[in-house]
Symmetry: C2
Subunit: 326 residues, 2 copies
Amino acid sequence: MTAALSDLLAPLEPQLEAMRSVLARELESDDPAVAAMLEHLSRFRGKQLRATLLLLMGQASGNDHPELPEVAAIIEMIHLATLVHDDVLDGAEVRRQLPSVNLEWDNQTAVLLGDWLYARAFGLSTQLASPLASQVLASVTARICVGEIRQAQGRYAFEASQLQYEEIAGAKTGVLYGAAAELGVRFARPDAGALGAEMRALGEELGLAFQIADDLLDLEGEESVVGKSVGTDVDDGKVTLPVLLAWQAADMETRAAIEAAYRAPGVPDRRAALFAACDLVTGCALARARADTLVASARARLEQLPDTASREALERVLEFTLERRS
Amino acid sequence: MTAALSDLLAPLEPQLEAMRSVLARELESDDPAVAAMLEHLSRFRGKQLRATLLLLMGQASGNDHPELPEVAAIIEMIHLATLVHDDVLDGAEVRRQLPSVNLEWDNQTAVLLGDWLYARAFGLSTQLASPLASQVLASVTARICVGEIRQAQGRYAFEASQLQYEEIAGAKTGVLYGAAAELGVRFARPDAGALGAEMRALGEELGLAFQIADDLLDLEGEESVVGKSVGTDVDDGKVTLPVLLAWQAADMETRAAIEAAYRAPGVPDRRAALFAACDLVTGCALARARADTLVASARARLEQLPDTASREALERVLEFTLERRS
């Protein structure tokens, strides 16, 4: 299946390569300390799904603006900045099977490196032909922060509704996918507003599904496969969708056991304790079903685009979200 | 003396008031958690020297662009973001006689609030008539981060040269003053490049002098007067200019005593130990002399501006840097 996706992405390769060149150029510094951290970060290179989404949206909607690879690189830089700060916030020690910046250096430096990445991303966006990228990205970054603040304030929030969970997860992850999809269609193309809004909605659904998949990996995955610390949500008091759904179905006694798995002092493996405490298998299945629904809705929006190989690739990207194991 | 400055600033009051309205409008959030933190931050309101410098430079150079108060507000927002992150990095507990965000909430939230402030500042800058503010501020923010990273990496760096100290302190503090002075002259005025560069140099000298004054306050000040934690530089291993100059004049035995004041375990008041260890009084006097020289150089650059009341006010702002006690 992955082979099929890579075949479908082959026509995108020149633009992806251009995007990677921009990233390599921007993620450089004369300062040796910063350069060493950037060298470390470059080994984190992930799936670059947001950039792929942006460039595919450009192809699928006939937007061939030469600056799209720059816009895609900016999206990846903002994503990288949020990762570096997230790892500080989460106290994560492993990122893509490498030590996180906060572990290899320290929290102070990781905060500053994240700030630097944001500043470089905004700086590049101000040099583009259209101010749309700057405007969208500033607005999206502010929304991501609010989502993260609500999440940080809402630890151990077992009584939250699914809607509240989705608002926060949407702000944390959905809006950047939404911005990627929208900018692919609308960048430097002021007449593409309606299609851009539709594709932003698609991106937000995809991002939320991706976040739910992430929540599931943190509960069900193995660190050696996932490539980053697992079980951290439970350790950090984050009540993710599978847990929320298990909580909602649980009686008082089970709820007390869930809470103890999260909060009782000295529990060595909180994730294992949580599975022992409640029917988390069903919670995970229900969360997976919600991700399926989101992806189905996103897929329906693809009908707004002409039937091309790029659109087929977008369909495969949507499916990939549900299949991913890392 | 302060009365004289406030008289000289009276003609600036309408623009300062406009700047404060922009700040009040931008530092709002629908989210209750973010709104509560912003309410707390609004009580930090400091001297707004960077905004004052920018607006005075506009007046003194005949730049009456109606968006200057917005640009000044953006500079203050970026300054506020760096303060919030600095307090996390420094573990500071008091800021302008109030608990810091990291103490009142937590480090995670303080990092995110700083990110939000940066994003709002950039977002506002992308809505202005000229892209200059966005470009200058993105570049300046990246340089501030590099300066802070170098400082964080260079703790206990007693062997640094004065030049290295000034590069780092300049990047940390000087560049934002430089940007304020430059933008006051050059914003939306592409023909003012040469004067803008001269005033940027003035701003950088002023900012470095201001940082040295800050270093002195951290060594010599009392918390109740300064309004924030003092002695934190010694606690954090920051070798500031007065200490560097005392170190350079010290023999081996004294150097060992300086290092012990900074690093030996269990020293209850490291600042007092440092004064006992070496001739820090002379180190402070030499650092103060360097600040005087910087301000004198900045004052000479003012000659490039026409002789007006605004220029006189700028002279008083320069003097204020050397006199300040908080």
